[in-house]
């Protein structure tokens, strides 16, 4: 199926950089040329070089002196024949054409001049079909409106037969199709032809994906209902993938189809803190100075969450709550949003119950990043139960060093009872019926059908895309079923698939490990029963700000990344030690987190801790025994807002610290991350950093810090 035609193969040889950044002759000069021993120059090669040097300098001379006579023009076309990449020669020809056309008005005399340009382009493209300058020259000529567009389609047919992956050709096709107002349906048919001629054509699949996605979105005639269209696409892609599973051409198209099948366009709420229907016990003291975070977590990033789209009804005083996106970026969109409820000073209270009602989306305005509106107005309630437990104040709690040793964690008392009063629920957030029927029947049926087909494929051939797709389909099905509170899961089958993939395709093993890590977190957090297995009390610890004094211990689970954070919103103490985490992306949604253990992981730099900057409640942090300072390349340098990415806020912050001792260029990461945290305890030993210098810096950066690596610093 691949390489079935030798011309195609030849183009493969010359197919990379010339497709790319600088307009040059790399396809012939820089790619696929066998290495030869250095030879002395021959008379012939010297003559060739002299000729080229001559016409090159003649062209530049004519260009500079605006000489556009016949002889000068011939020199430029001769030069472009030898070296179509010399962009100044194309510019020269445009100037010449402009000058020739200046006095002409009738199309009979204009057309031959422009036709000549098309010829020059054609001979250039024969030398190098991927020459940027030649293609642009052609567009420039066509835009004048004197040339036949049909001829262009004929030319493109020839070109795309020779090399069906030439993306200049495809780009140019989109250009002329737009010039001629060719309907998208017709272009879609062209991709069907190309795909039927040869499945191994990523360019055609790509174009199909773009066209079809637009047609579906516009609900164009004959592209509605979408379910019918998608079923036909599944048939087409099966032929490609099942014919040659190792050919990547259809892989990404399939993934898009899967998205179209399972991901509802409109955003919806998947979780909150406190959870719908839950009870949260409050104690007399809180780290938040009486402010209880109210967190809403959506299935995708949204904007427009504010006091008009969300109403909070309660006897608790809420003075026009301001909703903040929990995100470091400046887009104003986030999956998680937070506001704060004012809890009255409870020192004198005995016991009281408050009911809070949250009303979402009755006023339009919540919108996803691809402009879909929140469509399911809904409401939920939770209750806050204030209790007078004369506990020690936080002052005392925070005063003691937290030691993350196994013997300090006990399962005394009733973990389940404690969880039940922590504002958590293990039921799916109820979304209204309209939404359920929309995602349900067809989607589930389609996915189940795909699962059967891929199970057959995998049973027949030991192929990676079969296994990976099957794992993705099963994950998607499980996630769909959660919306219906159906907790049957395929965890074991998926786990087995990822374990096999790690062996089958070791080059990408870390990708599969990351996916597996998400699966592990899914398993642990999906039900109360499994979560309880990982919960314990920190010995001697009094209840923290709100009811829960539970520590979720997810250590030694081979985690490489975090996921399903929406199920952890209520956690205040989290132990992630002894894993292989190199990223904590997503953790920022845990707005109640006060104590975090990340020791013995694979965190590579301070910038990887960026999510923590958004957790204002964090007091105790252990990042000892990671890989900070060990690597010369920082892979989170740009996932963190800094002067490198034009953050002026960061600029100002750094200026405060720069003095003779501290050079901003050496220490900006640490200043940036720790300058925003109110830690009382920090452990960093076991990283490749200069302890003494870092100590000075961090004590200055964190005025609240009391304990650094077990030593009292204040």
């Amino acid at each position: 199926m691949k390489w079935n035609d030798s011309v195609f193969y030849i183009y493969e040889e010359v197919s990379s950089f010339e497709e790319f950044i600088v307009q040059s002759t790399q396809d012939t000069k820089m790619h696929g040329q066998p290495r030869k021993p250095l030879k002395p120059e021959t008379a012939e090669s010297i003559a060739k070089a002299t000729e080229l040097a001559n016409i090159q300098s003649q062209l530049l001379f004519n260009h500079q002196n605006k000489i556009y006579d016949k002889q000068a023009l011939n020199i430029s076309s001769r030069l472009l024949e030898i070296n179509p990449e010399i962009y100044t020669a194309w510019n020269y020809r445009k100037l010449a054409v402009q000058s020739l056309l200046q006095s002409l008005t009738d199309s009979d005399s204009i057309k031959p001049i422009l036709d000549e340009e098309l010829k020059v382009v054609e001979s250039a493209l024969r030398r190098n079909p991927k020459c940027y300058g030649a293609w642009h020259h052609r567009r420039w000529v066509l835009s004048k409106g004197f040339s036949s567009i049909n001829n262009e389609f004929l030319l493109l047919d020839k070109l795309l037969k020779l090399d069906s992956r030439n993306f200049h050709g495809w780009n140019y096709r989109r250009f002329v199709a737009a010039l001629k107002n060719v309907p998208a349906e017709e272009e879609l048919r062209f991709t069907t032809e190309k795909i039927n001629a040869n499945f191994s054509n990523y360019s055609a699949w790509h174009n199909r994906c773009t066209l079809l996605s637009n047609l579906l979105q516009a609900k164009a005639q004959r592209f509605f209902p979408r379910e019918k269209v998608l079923m036909e696409e599944y048939d087409l892609i099966h032929q490609a993938i099942f014919t040659d599973p190792d050919d990547q051409s259809g892989w990404f198209y399939y993934l898009w189809l899967l998205d179209e099948t399972v991901i509802p366009e409109a955003p919806f709420l998947i979780s909150s803190f406190p959870a719908p229907g839950s009870t949260l016990h409050l104690f007399t003291n809180s780290i938040m100075e009486g402010d209880l975070p109210l967190i809403l977590y959506f299935n995708q990033p949204v904007g427009g969450v504010n006091s008009s789209t969300i109403t909070v009804n309660s006897e608790l005083s809420i003075c026009d709550p301001i909703w903040k996106p929990i995100s470091a970026n400046k887009s104003g969109r986030a999956q998680a949003w937070v506001t704060y409820l004012k809890i009255p000073n409870m020192n004198s209270y005995v016991s009281k119950l408050y009911l809070v009602e949250v009303v979402i989306g009755h006023v339009a305005g919540i919108v996803s990043s691809n402009s879909f509106h929140y469509r399911y107005p809904s409401q939920f309630k939770f209750s806050l139960h204030s209790q007078d437990l004369s506990v020690d104040s936080d002052e005392k709690c925070d005063g003691a060093v937290v030691v993350w040793k196994d013997e300090n964690f006990v399962i005394e008392g009733d973990v389940i009872k404690n969880i039940n009063s922590s504002g958590v629920s293990f039921e799916a957030v109820e979304i209204n019926k309209e939404h359920q029927t929309m995602v349900s029947n067809w989607s589930i049926g389609a996915i189940e059908n795909e699962i059967n087909l891929f199970r057959e494929l995998v049973a027949e051939i030991d192929c990676k895309i079969g296994k990976l797709t099957l794992a993705r389909l099963l994950m998607a099905l499980d996630e769909l079923m959660v919306l219906f509170n159906d907790r049957r899961r395929h965890s074991n089958e998926i786990m087995e698939l990822y374990n096999e993939l790690i062996k089958l395709d070791p080059v990408h093993s870390r990708y599969y490990m990351d996916e597996r890590s998400l699966l592990i977190i899914d398993q642990v957090t999906s039900s109360r029963e499994s979560m309880v297995q990982h919960c314990s009390f920190y010995k001697g610890s009094k209840p923290m700000s709100f009811s829960s004094s539970i520590c979720l211990r997810l250590s030694k689970l081979s985690l490489t990344r975090i996921g399903f954070v929406e199920r952890l919103l209520w956690i205040q103490m989290l132990d992630l030690s002894h894993n292989e985490l190199r990223s904590i992306e997503g953790l920022e949604a845990m707005q109640l987190l006060a104590r975090l253990n990340l020791s013995n992981n694979k965190i590579r730099s301070f910038t990887a801790l960026e999510p923590l900057r958004l957790i204002k409640s964090l007091r105790v942090l252990d990042i000892s025994y990671n890989e900070i300072g060990l690597h010369s390349i920082d892979t989170t340098r740009y996932l963190c807002s800094t002067p490198l990415s034009q953050s002026t806020e960061a600029d100002r912050k750094l200026e405060e610290y720069v003095n003779d001792d501290i050079k901003a260029s050496d220490s900006w990461e640490a200043i940036w991350i720790f300058g925003d945290l109110c830690l009382t305890q920090l452990d960093v030993e076991g990283n490749a950093i200069d302890g003494e210098r870092f100590g000075k810096l961090v004590v200055k950066a964190i005025p609240t810090l009391k304990w650094l690596d077990g030593m009292c610093v204040r």
Binding site: F20, V22, R35, K36, Y87, W256, S327, S331, T636, S665
Partner: protein, 312 residues
């Protein structure tokens, strides 16, 4: 197998500059890019002092036009591709004061269109490559306020595909080089939240083929230059661990001409400065011990970039 032939590559780069044969003449119009590739390679190998910097700068300034833009060589038209290379070389030399930054940035700003896109020069070819060149250049000159950054970002986002990658113009097919330009520009403008990191990361990591090398699009042959385009993009979005770095390192080292210096696109092909630069820059991103670290977005050594942005 074995290690990097640093001395031979340095000598190769120093010699290339003097060559005047047919092949070099074909490349005359991109000499400015060649200067950037060669000099950055020398810097990464710790050998920049072997170059007469004043002579290079003197030649470069002769390539600048009255409009502020630079041509690829003396007498060639100004274009944003060569303007970026010129600025990068001056940054490398720490000689930005040689430049009328105001004039250069006005030239670049004049290339922005109403929809936020950038033309490469006055002739109006539009491509996200030029968006990257413009944004990178202005950021290095601390002059991003000269353009409408929001519109520039929106245009790049409009070139995002459903496979997570980016094309030259809206609807254009994803290509590793183009992805570097778009992801790099989004990184520099603090706009990476527009990138679907997992989707793009999977597309990018699947560029690694059995030999360990990386290709630029599905079902294409591997090539050393993609060690840069793919790796830098993977690093910017923190997904570089999804490929096998050791295998890639071996692939690049296998593309060296151990006799005469230089690195080629694939083992046993003819070497050139372009692939020599991308091979060495790739090894730098792979944390190869004898090569200085390079910044994945600005495509300049990390210490040089830090000097620009934290050097007060």
């Amino acid at each position: 197998m074995g290690e990097l032939e640093i001395d031979k590559h340095v000598q190769y780069i120093l010699d290339v500059e003097k060559k005047r044969d047919f092949e070099s003449l074909l490349m005359e119009h991109i000499r400015m890019n060649g200067a950037y590739w060669g000099l950055t390679t020398l810097y990464l190998l710790g050998k920049l002092e072997k170059v007469d910097q004043d002579a290079v700068v003197e030649w470069m300034m002769k390539c600048q036009h009255d409009c502020g833009g630079f041509g690829g060589s003396i007498g060639h038209d100004p274009h944003v591709l060569y303007t970026l290379s010129a600025v990068q070389v001056l940054v490398l030399f720490n000689k930005l004061d040689m430049l009328d930054a105001e004039k250069v940035s006005n030239y670049i700003a004049s290339l922005q269109n109403e929809d936020g896109s950038f033309a490469g020069d006055i002739w109006g070819e539009i491509d996200t490559r030029f968006s990257y060149c413009a944004i990178c250049c202005l950021a290095l000159l601390h002059r991003l306020d000269k353009i409408n950054v929001e519109k520039a970002v929106n245009y790049i986002v409009s070139c995002k595909n459903l496979d997570g990658g980016f094309g030259c113009t809206p609807g254009g097919e994803s290509h590793a080089g183009q992805i570097f330009c778009c992801v790099g520009a989004l990184a520099i403008t603090g706009s990476l939240h527009y990138v679907d990191k997992d989707r793009l990361g999977w597309w990018l990591c699947e560029r690694q083929v059995k030999s360990g090398g990386l290709n630029g699009r599905p079902e294409k042959l591997p090539d050393v230059c993609y060690s840069w385009w793919v790796l830098s993009s993977l690093i910017i979005i923190d997904r570089v661990h999804w490929i096998d770095k050791d295998k890639l390192t071996k692939f690049i080292l296998n593309c060296q001409d151990r006799e005469n210096g230089g690195i080629s696109d694939r083992p046993d092909d003819a070497v050139d400065v372009f692939h020599t630069y991308f091979g060495v820059a790739g090894l730098s991103l792979l944390e190869y011990p004898e090569v200085k670290p390079i910044d994945p977005a600005y495509a300049l050594p990390v210490d040089v970039v830090n000097r620009i942005f934290f050097g007060k």
